[in-house]
Amino acid sequence: MKKTTLLLSLLSTVVFAQFNVVASYPYLGRIVKAVGGDNVKVKVLASPRFDPHFVIPKPSLIPAIARADMLVANGAGLEIGWLPPLLKSANNPKVRISSTGFVDASHAIRLIDKPKAVSRAYGDVHPEGNPHFNSDPHNIIPIAKYVTKKLSQLDISHAQEYHHNLTQFATKWKRFLKTFDAQMKTCKSKKVVQYHELYNYLLKRYGIRSTATIEPLPGIAPSSKHTIALIQKMKKENIKMILQDPYHEKKTAHFIAAKTGAKVTVIPHDVGAVSGTDTLKTFYETIATRLCH
């Protein structure tokens, strides 16, 4: 009797043994969950409340990485300031960079804004290109496909389910993209200013023109000289919209708005960054509504 219960309990652990996936950012966690379904357990490392470049490498994040079967990172240098020391401390060869369990989502994306010359004289530049491709919902399916490919490779027994989930997700997402595209079309050739080059993928796809940034160089806090020049430019070119991320200071944006009559619009940078954006769909819906109302 004891033996059978023991066997049963063993069996149940086998049945319920989930595939552990760690995702660096919330949107990646949502994609993994959409494809992985009940077969995967997803842990997200970064909080959507903070700047994705400057996540505190808390040692409390290490156990999840230590037990992970797969790690999905945004890549293109976005995690360079915080993930490497965590990966090093986690002592998990399965998800080390260059192992099969390390999934770099940027590999599924054609990166834009690749700098022609790389030097820290230009601020915090990303040599591989702009890493903020999650602003464009058209990049979700390529990432989901890549994640599915990796999941199916590493967890062969559930490969069919992953592919099935992907098909379902992609169908739903394509339908969503149609309504999203329709909404975004209404603000084509609008001119905007951003704090950081955070929304370039989205703006480029929908023909919205990003004319300048509030920060003088990537990663450098606004200076009065740059701000004054920006105000003049906005007045001259009649730019009426400032795209502000939720985590930077908003004082400069409001100052510029007061001087130019422009409107400050807070655009979330990730799922959960502002209230009411807890799913991928609501995240992009919020972007579209705030950008093209």
């Binding site: 903070f50 505190i56 060869p93 985590y247």
Partner: protein, 435 residues
């Protein structure tokens, strides 16, 4: 068919009229049939010939096209192969290690002149030796100091090991600060290290000076382990336990060259163990705590036991602003020829990161337990203001009021007031710092 009928009927009608003519017509008809048949045959032969020729022409056209292509390829190949070697056949640039350059310098104002400052010691913990050269690695001079240029190299050696080397270049000295290999593929949450490295005993010992929040070393570490801390040749094994809460156990075996606490040179003498844990108190507050023990043999050949406890709490206020409280306690039990010496000290520091650019902090150091007949009121106050115009550029203004030092041979205690303005830069490929 109808033609034949007409012909036959014609022939029949003709036969009615003239039998002889009929014979003639018959012969003519036969002859004509023969010639048509012959013509048909020739036509067929000609047609066959024509299709054959068309096929041949097609084939020839194809071969012409192919040869043209081959010629083109051959031509380009001829153009691309230079007689002079211009390609980088065995170029290894992509295997170059990450190289970082760290520079540190300062301007110091102090109420003690340089020749006196060089003779300082901490009563009960260290002594002044007139015959030895003073070991003050950073900010020794009143006036200007160039402390070091540090060269840090990091490279993956192969599938199994990473290699790191940190060279400290002082104005008149080359020092291998650290040089070690680290395992990449050990299972079960294990990682091994071998070489010369800073021990992960306690909290600050393994952190390089350029990443410290204050420019000076905590008093307890300087008093009990000297300016170098525990930085020695040896091996290390760390294990991340498979628990939900972060738990890490580490073990190190070292040569024990540190002669402040250890230093028995007859054989390797130092063994270190530690346990560290971390968990989130709230969504934005994280705690890191550790206990450490080091057991070794000192220069007298007796035992030294060093115990450490550390606690760090960090609260993120927003993406760029945080509050950090870090404290560490050291207790040393050292047996010498003259008996057992029990000494202890601690530091506690609070650093407020205001934004990406500005930070301020205060620290209190206290050596609260000393050997008999020696003062136990040795302490120090430090305050600093830090400005970082860019992530890898740091300027720091630091004020220190130090009540832990005595000078020269005549046991003269004197409090030091010091103001320091320093800079630290990290250039090149420098990896991110841990928590």
């Amino acid at each position: 068919m109808t033609k034949k009928i007409i012909l036959l009927s014609m022939a029949a009608s003709v036969s009615l009229f003239a039998q002889s003519e009929l014979e003639e017509v018959k012969a003519l008809l036969a002859q004509q049939i023969k010639t048509t048949q012959a013509l048909q045959k020739r036509l067929e032969v000609l047609e066959k010939k024509q299709t054959k020729q068309a096929k041949i022409a097609k084939r020839q056209a194809r071969t012409i096209r192919e040869t043209k292509k081959q010629i083109a390829v051959a031509k380009t190949q001829q153009e691309e192969i230079p007689t002079v070697q211009t390609t980088k056949t065995f170029d290894q640039k992509s295997f170059l290690p990450d190289i970082a350059l760290i520079l540190d310098g300062s301007a110091v104002g102090r109420n003690v002149d340089n020749s006196t400052y060089e003779t300082y010691y901490m009563p009960g913990f260290s002594t002044y030796d007139p015959s030895a050269e003073a070991e003050i690695p950073f900010n020794k001079n009143r006036g200007f100091n160039f402390n070091y240029a540090e060269l840090a190299l990091h490279s993956t050696v192969g599938p199994y090991f990473d290699a790191d080397a940190i060279f400290h270049l002082h104005p008149d000295e080359f020092e291998i600060e650290e040089a070690y290999i680290t395992s990449r593929t050990l299972p079960y949450g294990l990682r091994a290290k071998a070489g010369k490295f800073r021990s992960e005993f306690g909290r600050i010992n393994s952190i390089h000076q350029h990443a410290w929040k204050f420019t000076s070393q905590p008093l307890a570490f300087e008093a009990l382990l000297g300016t170098e801390g525990i930085n020695d040749a040896g091996v290390q094994l760390q294990w991340v336990l498979p628990t939900d809460t972060y738990l890490m156990a580490g073990f190190e075996a070292m040569q024990g060259n540190n002669d402040v606490s250890f230093g028995d040179t007859e054989e390797n003498n130092l063994y270190i163990g530690y346990l560290k844990s971390s968990f989130d108190l709230t969504d934005t507050t994280t705690l890191l705590a550790g206990t450490s023990i080091a057991h070794g043999k000192n220069e007298d050949g007796h035992n030294t036991d060093l115990y450490g406890a550390d606690l760090t709490i960090k609260t993120a206020l927003d993406s760029y602003s945080s509050l950090l409280w870090q404290s560490e306690l050291l207790y040393r039990d050292k047996t010498t020829d003259s008996g057992s010496e029990k000494q202890a000290g601690y530091y506690t520091q609070l650093v407020y990161q205001y934004d990406q650019n500005w930070a301020a902090g205060i620290r209190y150091d206290d050596l609260f337990k000393n050997i008999s007949d020696q003062p136990d009121d040795l302490d120090r106050y430090t305050a600093m203001l830090e400005y970082k115009p860019f992530e890898f550029t740091k300027f720091r203004l630091q004020y220190t009021y130090d009540r832990s030092k005595a000078f020269g041979t005549d046991d003269q205690r004197k409090n030091i007031s010091e103001i320091l303005l320093g800079f630290t830069i990290e250039a090149g490929a420098h990896g991110a710092h841990a928590f």
